[in-house]
Protein backbone atom coordinates (compact mmCIF):
# COMPACT_ATOMS: atom_id res chain seq x y z
CA UNK A 1 0.00 0.00 0.00
CA UNK A 2 2.74 2.48 0.99
CA UNK A 3 6.02 2.36 -0.88
CA UNK A 4 8.94 4.57 0.15
CA UNK A 5 11.74 4.68 -2.40
CA UNK A 6 15.25 6.10 -1.85
CA UNK A 7 13.99 8.75 0.53
CA UNK A 8 16.51 11.29 1.79
CA UNK A 9 16.03 14.32 3.97
CA UNK A 10 18.39 17.22 4.38
CA UNK A 11 17.66 20.11 6.70
CA UNK A 12 19.90 23.14 7.17
CA UNK A 13 22.59 21.42 5.08
CA UNK A 14 22.57 18.43 7.44
CA UNK A 15 21.61 14.98 6.23
CA UNK A 16 18.97 13.53 8.54
CA UNK A 17 18.78 10.18 6.72
CA UNK A 18 19.76 8.82 3.34
CA UNK A 19 18.13 6.42 0.85
CA UNK A 20 15.49 4.92 3.11
CA UNK A 21 13.33 2.25 1.45
CA UNK A 22 10.29 0.59 2.93
CA UNK A 23 7.17 -1.14 1.80
CA UNK A 24 4.11 -1.33 4.01
CA UNK A 25 1.61 -3.91 2.83
CA UNK A 26 -1.55 -5.07 4.54
CA UNK A 27 -0.90 -7.01 7.73
CA UNK A 28 2.59 -5.53 8.17
CA UNK A 29 3.92 -3.97 11.33
CA UNK A 30 7.08 -1.96 10.71
CA UNK A 31 9.18 -0.65 13.56
CA UNK A 32 11.46 2.34 12.97
CA UNK A 33 14.30 2.14 15.41
CA UNK A 34 17.01 4.62 16.15
CA UNK A 35 18.57 6.91 18.69
CA UNK A 36 17.16 10.32 19.56
CA UNK A 37 17.68 12.63 16.60
CA UNK A 38 18.11 9.81 14.10
CA UNK A 39 15.15 11.08 12.06
CA UNK A 40 12.31 8.73 13.06
CA UNK A 41 9.78 11.53 13.55
CA UNK A 42 11.01 13.28 10.39
CA UNK A 43 10.48 10.08 8.37
CA UNK A 44 6.96 9.62 9.75
CA UNK A 45 6.14 13.27 9.05
CA UNK A 46 7.48 12.86 5.52
CA UNK A 47 5.28 9.81 4.98
CA UNK A 48 2.20 11.84 5.99
CA UNK A 49 3.37 14.62 3.63
CA UNK A 50 4.08 17.26 6.25
CA UNK A 51 7.74 17.44 5.29
CA UNK A 52 8.85 17.45 1.66
CA UNK A 53 11.70 15.02 1.01
CA UNK A 54 15.00 16.27 -0.46
CA UNK A 55 14.98 13.31 -2.83
CA UNK A 56 13.14 10.05 -3.32
CA UNK A 57 9.45 9.33 -3.62
CA UNK A 58 6.49 7.97 -1.72
CA UNK A 59 3.70 6.01 -3.36
CA UNK A 60 0.23 5.19 -2.12
CA UNK A 61 -1.64 2.41 -3.92
CA UNK A 62 0.83 2.67 -6.77
CA UNK A 63 0.37 6.39 -7.37
CA UNK A 64 2.61 9.23 -6.16
CA UNK A 65 1.40 10.22 -2.69
CA UNK A 66 0.87 13.88 -3.54
CA UNK A 67 -1.53 12.95 -6.34
CA UNK A 68 -3.49 10.62 -4.09
CA UNK A 69 -3.11 12.50 -0.80
CA UNK A 70 -6.66 12.77 0.50
CA UNK A 71 -7.38 9.11 -0.30
CA UNK A 72 -4.28 8.28 1.74
CA UNK A 73 -5.51 10.48 4.60
CA UNK A 74 -8.90 8.75 4.45
CA UNK A 75 -7.17 5.48 5.28
CA UNK A 76 -4.62 6.76 7.78
CA UNK A 77 -4.52 7.57 11.48
CA UNK A 78 -1.44 9.46 12.62
CA UNK A 79 -0.61 9.80 16.28
CA UNK A 80 2.21 12.22 16.95
CA UNK A 81 4.57 12.20 19.91
CA UNK A 82 2.35 14.76 21.65
CA UNK A 83 -1.21 14.18 22.78
CA UNK A 84 -4.00 15.86 20.88
CA UNK A 85 -6.71 15.63 23.53
CA UNK A 86 -7.99 18.99 24.71
CA UNK A 87 -6.73 19.46 28.25
CA UNK A 88 -9.45 21.92 29.29
CA UNK A 89 -12.21 19.41 28.49
CA UNK A 90 -13.23 16.18 30.20
CA UNK A 91 -12.30 12.73 28.88
CA UNK A 92 -15.94 12.24 27.86
CA UNK A 93 -16.05 15.55 25.95
CA UNK A 94 -12.86 14.64 24.09
CA UNK A 95 -14.28 11.26 23.09
CA UNK A 96 -17.52 12.95 21.96
CA UNK A 97 -15.55 15.45 19.85
CA UNK A 98 -13.38 12.74 18.26
CA UNK A 99 -16.48 10.69 17.44
CA UNK A 100 -18.03 13.69 15.71
CA UNK A 101 -14.88 14.85 13.92
CA UNK A 102 -14.03 11.41 12.55
CA UNK A 103 -17.69 10.57 11.85
CA UNK A 104 -17.22 7.42 13.91
CA UNK A 105 -19.89 4.72 14.08
CA UNK A 106 -18.43 3.14 17.21
CA UNK A 107 -21.04 2.78 19.96
CA UNK A 108 -20.73 3.83 23.58
CA UNK A 109 -20.59 0.30 24.98
CA UNK A 110 -17.53 -0.46 22.80
CA UNK A 111 -15.85 2.71 24.03
CA UNK A 112 -16.69 1.85 27.65
CA UNK A 113 -15.12 -1.59 27.32
CA UNK A 114 -11.95 -0.13 25.76
CA UNK A 115 -11.75 2.49 28.50
CA UNK A 116 -12.11 -0.30 31.04
CA UNK A 117 -9.27 -2.24 29.41
CA UNK A 118 -7.10 0.88 29.43
CA UNK A 119 -8.18 1.55 33.05
CA UNK A 120 -9.53 4.95 32.15
CA UNK A 121 -13.20 4.23 32.89
CA UNK A 122 -13.08 6.05 36.24
CA UNK A 123 -11.81 9.26 34.65
CA UNK A 124 -14.68 9.90 32.21
CA UNK A 125 -15.83 13.07 33.93
CA UNK A 126 -12.38 14.34 34.81
CA UNK A 127 -10.57 16.99 32.86
CA UNK A 128 -7.71 15.70 30.72
CA UNK A 129 -5.39 18.20 32.45
CA UNK A 130 -5.81 16.19 35.68
CA UNK A 131 -4.59 12.93 34.07
CA UNK A 132 -0.98 11.79 34.14
CA UNK A 133 1.03 11.84 30.89
CA UNK A 134 0.78 8.05 30.59
CA UNK A 135 -3.00 8.16 31.02
CA UNK A 136 -3.31 10.95 28.45
CA UNK A 137 -1.24 8.87 26.07
CA UNK A 138 -3.51 5.85 26.60
CA UNK A 139 -6.52 8.08 25.93
CA UNK A 140 -4.88 9.07 22.66
CA UNK A 141 -4.88 5.41 21.56
CA UNK A 142 -8.65 5.48 21.71
CA UNK A 143 -8.44 7.55 18.53
CA UNK A 144 -7.15 4.47 16.71
CA UNK A 145 -10.38 2.65 17.47
CA UNK A 146 -12.62 5.69 16.93
CA UNK A 147 -11.08 6.56 13.55
CA UNK A 148 -11.12 2.89 12.50
CA UNK A 149 -8.66 3.21 9.61
CA UNK A 150 -6.42 0.67 7.89
CA UNK A 151 -3.04 2.41 8.29
CA UNK A 152 -1.72 3.45 11.67
CA UNK A 153 1.31 5.73 11.78
CA UNK A 154 2.49 6.17 15.34
CA UNK A 155 5.34 8.24 16.70
CA UNK A 156 6.85 6.78 19.88
CA UNK A 157 3.63 5.09 21.03
CA UNK A 158 5.36 3.08 23.74
CA UNK A 159 7.17 5.84 25.59
CA UNK A 160 5.79 6.76 29.04
CA UNK A 161 3.71 3.56 29.18
CA UNK A 162 3.96 0.86 31.85
CA UNK A 163 4.49 -2.82 30.93
CA UNK A 164 0.81 -3.67 31.27
CA UNK A 165 -0.19 -0.87 28.89
CA UNK A 166 2.51 -1.94 26.40
CA UNK A 167 1.01 -5.45 26.45
CA UNK A 168 -2.45 -4.01 25.73
CA UNK A 169 -1.04 -1.94 22.85
CA UNK A 170 0.74 -5.06 21.53
CA UNK A 171 -2.53 -6.99 21.61
CA UNK A 172 -4.30 -4.10 19.83
CA UNK A 173 -1.58 -4.15 17.15
CA UNK A 174 -2.10 -7.89 16.60
CA UNK A 175 -5.90 -7.45 16.40
CA UNK A 176 -5.41 -4.73 13.80
CA UNK A 177 -2.98 -6.91 11.87
CA UNK A 178 -5.44 -9.79 11.83
CA UNK A 179 -7.96 -7.44 10.18
CA UNK A 180 -5.38 -6.77 7.43
CA UNK A 181 -4.46 -3.40 8.90
CA UNK A 182 -0.91 -2.05 8.73
CA UNK A 183 1.16 -0.21 11.28
CA UNK A 184 4.36 1.78 11.10
CA UNK A 185 5.67 3.09 14.36
CA UNK A 186 8.84 4.48 15.83
CA UNK A 187 10.45 3.53 19.08
CA UNK A 188 13.84 3.73 20.72
CA UNK A 189 13.08 1.02 23.26
CA UNK A 190 13.11 -2.76 22.93
CA UNK A 191 9.72 -4.42 23.06
CA UNK A 192 8.16 -7.58 21.77
CA UNK A 193 4.90 -6.66 20.10
CA UNK A 194 4.86 -8.78 16.97
CA UNK A 195 6.84 -6.55 14.63
CA UNK A 196 7.16 -8.00 11.11
CA UNK A 197 10.00 -5.73 9.96
CA UNK A 198 12.49 -3.51 11.68
CA UNK A 199 14.17 -0.55 10.02
CA UNK A 200 17.17 1.06 11.67
CA UNK A 201 17.81 4.74 11.13
Amino acid sequence: MILVKDLSIERSNKTIFNNVNLSLGSGNIILLKGKNGSGKTTLLKTIVNIIDPSSGSIYWKGKPLKKNLYDFYNHTTYIADKTSSLSKLTVQDNIKIWKKIFLSKINNSQIESILKTLKLDNYLNQKVSSLSFGETKKLEFLRLIIEDKKIWILDEPLSSLDDESIDIIGQTFQDHRSKEGSIIFSSHQNSDIGVTEEIRL
Binding site: I50, N74, L89
Partner: protein
Amino acid sequence: MKFLNKIVSFYYREYKLNLSGLQDILTNIIFFFISIFIFIFSIGPDRETISLIGVGILWTLLLLSSTLSLRKFYQDDFENGNLLITHLNGFSFGFIAILKTFSHFLFVQIPFLLSIPIACILLNIVNDKLIYLFISFSIGSLILSCLGSISSSMNLMNQRNFLLGSVIVMIFSIPVIIFSVGIINMEENFNSLINILFGILLIVFAINPWASGLCLKLSLENN
Protein backbone atom coordinates in the same frame (compact mmCIF):
# COMPACT_ATOMS: atom_id res chain seq x y z
CA MET B 1 -22.49 15.39 2.93
CA LYS B 2 -19.54 13.74 4.72
CA PHE B 3 -17.44 16.88 4.20
CA LEU B 4 -20.25 19.10 5.50
CA ASN B 5 -20.58 16.91 8.61
CA LYS B 6 -16.85 17.31 9.20
CA ILE B 7 -17.20 21.11 9.01
CA VAL B 8 -20.11 21.04 11.49
CA SER B 9 -18.00 18.82 13.80
CA PHE B 10 -15.10 21.26 13.49
CA TYR B 11 -17.33 24.09 14.73
CA TYR B 12 -18.74 21.86 17.49
CA ARG B 13 -15.18 21.38 18.71
CA GLU B 14 -14.48 25.13 18.46
CA TYR B 15 -17.68 25.84 20.39
CA LYS B 16 -16.73 23.43 23.19
CA LEU B 17 -13.24 24.85 23.30
CA ASN B 18 -14.44 28.46 23.47
CA LEU B 19 -17.03 27.56 26.07
CA SER B 20 -14.31 26.08 28.27
CA GLY B 21 -12.26 29.24 27.74
CA LEU B 22 -15.16 31.62 28.32
CA GLN B 23 -13.09 33.57 30.82
CA ASP B 24 -10.73 34.62 27.99
CA ILE B 25 -13.63 36.11 26.00
CA LEU B 26 -14.98 37.83 29.12
CA THR B 27 -11.51 39.20 29.93
CA ASN B 28 -11.34 40.69 26.43
CA ILE B 29 -14.70 42.39 26.86
CA ILE B 30 -13.78 43.64 30.34
CA PHE B 31 -10.53 45.05 28.87
CA PHE B 32 -12.63 46.77 26.20
CA PHE B 33 -14.98 48.43 28.71
CA ILE B 34 -12.28 49.38 31.21
CA SER B 35 -10.36 51.04 28.37
CA ILE B 36 -13.51 53.01 27.45
CA PHE B 37 -13.77 54.22 31.05
CA ILE B 38 -10.09 55.21 31.05
CA PHE B 39 -10.65 57.25 27.88
CA ILE B 40 -13.73 58.92 29.37
CA PHE B 41 -11.89 59.80 32.60
CA SER B 42 -8.86 61.11 30.73
CA ILE B 43 -10.92 63.28 28.35
CA GLY B 44 -13.11 64.74 31.09
CA PRO B 45 -16.85 65.19 31.50
CA ASP B 46 -17.44 67.11 28.24
CA ARG B 47 -20.11 64.96 26.54
CA GLU B 48 -19.73 66.70 23.17
CA THR B 49 -16.01 65.98 22.93
CA ILE B 50 -16.58 62.36 23.91
CA SER B 51 -19.36 62.08 21.35
CA LEU B 52 -17.13 63.62 18.65
CA ILE B 53 -14.25 61.18 19.07
CA GLY B 54 -16.35 58.29 20.45
CA VAL B 55 -16.43 56.28 17.22
CA GLY B 56 -12.64 56.58 16.81
CA ILE B 57 -12.13 55.42 20.40
CA LEU B 58 -14.51 52.51 19.86
CA TRP B 59 -12.71 51.31 16.75
CA THR B 60 -9.25 51.67 18.29
CA LEU B 61 -10.30 49.66 21.32
CA LEU B 62 -12.02 47.02 19.22
CA LEU B 63 -8.80 46.62 17.29
CA LEU B 64 -6.66 46.40 20.43
CA SER B 65 -9.07 43.98 22.12
CA SER B 66 -9.25 41.66 19.15
CA THR B 67 -5.44 41.78 18.89
CA LEU B 68 -5.31 40.38 22.44
CA SER B 69 -6.95 37.17 21.29
CA LEU B 70 -4.59 36.60 18.38
CA ARG B 71 -2.11 34.59 20.42
CA LYS B 72 -4.66 31.80 20.77
CA PHE B 73 -5.72 31.83 17.10
CA TYR B 74 -3.59 28.83 16.05
CA GLN B 75 -1.13 28.40 18.92
CA ASP B 76 -3.05 25.84 21.02
CA ASP B 77 -4.03 23.72 18.03
CA PHE B 78 -0.46 23.88 16.78
CA GLU B 79 1.05 22.84 20.10
CA ASN B 80 -1.31 19.95 20.84
CA GLY B 81 -1.22 18.60 17.30
CA ASN B 82 -4.85 19.30 16.46
CA LEU B 83 -3.82 21.39 13.47
CA LEU B 84 -2.19 18.32 11.97
CA ILE B 85 -5.12 16.07 12.86
CA THR B 86 -7.56 18.49 11.21
CA HIS B 87 -5.39 18.46 8.10
CA LEU B 88 -5.20 14.65 8.08
CA ASN B 89 -8.97 14.59 8.48
CA GLY B 90 -9.25 15.93 4.95
CA PHE B 91 -8.99 19.72 5.24
CA SER B 92 -6.30 21.56 3.31
CA PHE B 93 -4.30 24.14 5.28
CA GLY B 94 -5.97 26.96 3.33
CA PHE B 95 -9.40 25.64 4.21
CA ILE B 96 -8.41 25.29 7.87
CA ALA B 97 -7.45 29.00 7.75
CA ILE B 98 -10.93 29.89 6.43
CA LEU B 99 -12.64 27.76 9.08
CA LYS B 100 -10.53 29.25 11.88
CA THR B 101 -11.13 32.79 10.61
CA PHE B 102 -14.90 32.30 10.81
CA SER B 103 -14.48 30.67 14.20
CA HIS B 104 -12.55 33.75 15.42
CA PHE B 105 -15.26 36.00 14.00
CA LEU B 106 -18.04 33.95 15.67
CA PHE B 107 -16.52 33.43 19.10
CA VAL B 108 -14.36 36.54 19.55
CA GLN B 109 -15.72 39.34 17.36
CA ILE B 110 -19.46 38.68 17.72
CA PRO B 111 -19.39 39.19 21.53
CA PHE B 112 -17.84 42.62 20.83
CA LEU B 113 -20.53 43.31 18.26
CA LEU B 114 -23.17 42.56 20.89
CA SER B 115 -21.52 44.87 23.40
CA ILE B 116 -21.47 47.85 21.01
CA PRO B 117 -24.87 49.29 22.09
CA ILE B 118 -23.66 49.55 25.72
CA ALA B 119 -20.37 51.10 24.57
CA CYS B 120 -22.36 53.61 22.49
CA ILE B 121 -24.29 54.75 25.57
CA LEU B 122 -21.03 55.23 27.48
CA LEU B 123 -19.45 57.17 24.62
CA ASN B 124 -22.56 59.26 23.95
CA ILE B 125 -22.84 58.04 20.34
CA VAL B 126 -26.29 58.90 18.98
CA ASN B 127 -28.67 56.06 18.18
CA ASP B 128 -28.91 57.06 14.48
CA LYS B 129 -25.28 56.06 14.02
CA LEU B 130 -25.71 52.66 15.63
CA ILE B 131 -26.84 50.87 12.47
CA TYR B 132 -23.85 52.23 10.51
CA LEU B 133 -21.56 51.20 13.35
CA PHE B 134 -22.97 47.68 13.18
CA ILE B 135 -22.51 47.49 9.40
CA SER B 136 -18.97 48.87 9.48
CA PHE B 137 -17.98 46.69 12.43
CA SER B 138 -19.47 43.53 10.89
CA ILE B 139 -17.37 43.97 7.74
CA GLY B 140 -14.35 45.47 9.56
CA SER B 141 -14.15 42.74 12.19
CA LEU B 142 -14.17 40.04 9.53
CA ILE B 143 -11.25 41.87 7.89
CA LEU B 144 -9.47 41.94 11.26
CA SER B 145 -10.09 38.19 11.68
CA CYS B 146 -8.54 37.53 8.24
CA LEU B 147 -5.53 39.72 9.09
CA GLY B 148 -5.34 38.02 12.49
CA SER B 149 -5.24 34.63 10.81
CA ILE B 150 -2.34 35.67 8.58
CA SER B 151 -0.33 37.25 11.39
CA SER B 152 -0.98 34.38 13.85
CA SER B 153 0.09 31.78 11.33
CA MET B 154 3.24 33.84 10.71
CA ASN B 155 3.81 33.91 14.47
CA LEU B 156 3.93 30.11 14.53
CA MET B 157 7.10 30.33 12.47
CA ASN B 158 8.47 33.09 14.65
CA GLN B 159 7.69 31.90 18.16
CA ARG B 160 10.01 34.37 19.81
CA ASN B 161 8.30 37.59 18.76
CA PHE B 162 4.54 37.60 19.22
CA LEU B 163 4.37 41.39 18.92
CA LEU B 164 5.41 41.23 15.27
CA GLY B 165 2.06 39.68 14.34
CA SER B 166 0.15 42.34 16.27
CA VAL B 167 2.14 45.07 14.53
CA ILE B 168 1.25 43.59 11.13
CA VAL B 169 -2.45 43.51 12.03
CA MET B 170 -2.32 47.11 13.24
CA ILE B 171 -0.56 48.43 10.14
CA PHE B 172 -2.93 46.72 7.72
CA SER B 173 -6.00 47.68 9.74
CA ILE B 174 -5.35 51.42 9.28
CA PRO B 175 -7.40 51.57 6.02
CA VAL B 176 -10.15 49.56 7.71
CA ILE B 177 -10.37 52.11 10.51
CA ILE B 178 -10.24 55.07 8.10
CA PHE B 179 -13.16 53.79 6.03
CA SER B 180 -15.13 52.36 8.94
CA VAL B 181 -15.04 55.61 10.89
CA GLY B 182 -15.77 57.44 7.61
CA ILE B 183 -18.98 55.46 7.13
CA ILE B 184 -20.31 56.55 10.50
CA ASN B 185 -19.30 60.20 10.22
CA MET B 186 -20.57 60.67 6.67
CA GLU B 187 -23.94 62.35 6.33
CA GLU B 188 -24.74 60.87 2.90
CA ASN B 189 -23.29 58.68 0.15
CA PHE B 190 -21.94 56.20 2.67
CA ASN B 191 -22.58 53.38 0.18
CA SER B 192 -19.31 54.15 -1.59
CA LEU B 193 -17.35 53.70 1.66
CA ILE B 194 -19.15 50.45 2.42
CA ASN B 195 -18.20 49.24 -1.06
CA ILE B 196 -14.54 50.12 -0.42
CA LEU B 197 -14.64 48.33 2.93
CA PHE B 198 -16.27 45.34 1.27
CA GLY B 199 -13.55 45.43 -1.41
CA ILE B 200 -10.85 45.32 1.27
CA LEU B 201 -12.68 42.36 2.83
CA LEU B 202 -12.66 40.49 -0.48
CA ILE B 203 -8.94 41.13 -0.96
CA VAL B 204 -7.90 39.90 2.50
CA PHE B 205 -10.39 37.04 2.27
CA ALA B 206 -8.73 35.92 -0.97
CA ILE B 207 -5.19 36.30 0.39
CA ASN B 208 -5.87 34.70 3.79
CA PRO B 209 -6.14 30.99 2.78
CA TRP B 210 -3.00 31.18 0.64
CA ALA B 211 -0.85 33.11 3.09
CA SER B 212 -2.08 31.42 6.28
CA GLY B 213 -2.14 27.97 4.67
CA LEU B 214 1.48 28.30 3.56
CA CYS B 215 2.59 29.56 6.98
CA LEU B 216 0.75 26.69 8.72
CA LYS B 217 2.40 24.11 6.48
CA LEU B 218 5.86 25.63 6.93
CA SER B 219 5.49 25.90 10.69
CA LEU B 220 4.42 22.24 10.98
CA GLU B 221 7.29 21.25 8.71
CA ASN B 222 9.83 23.06 10.87
CA ASN B 223 8.32 22.05 14.20
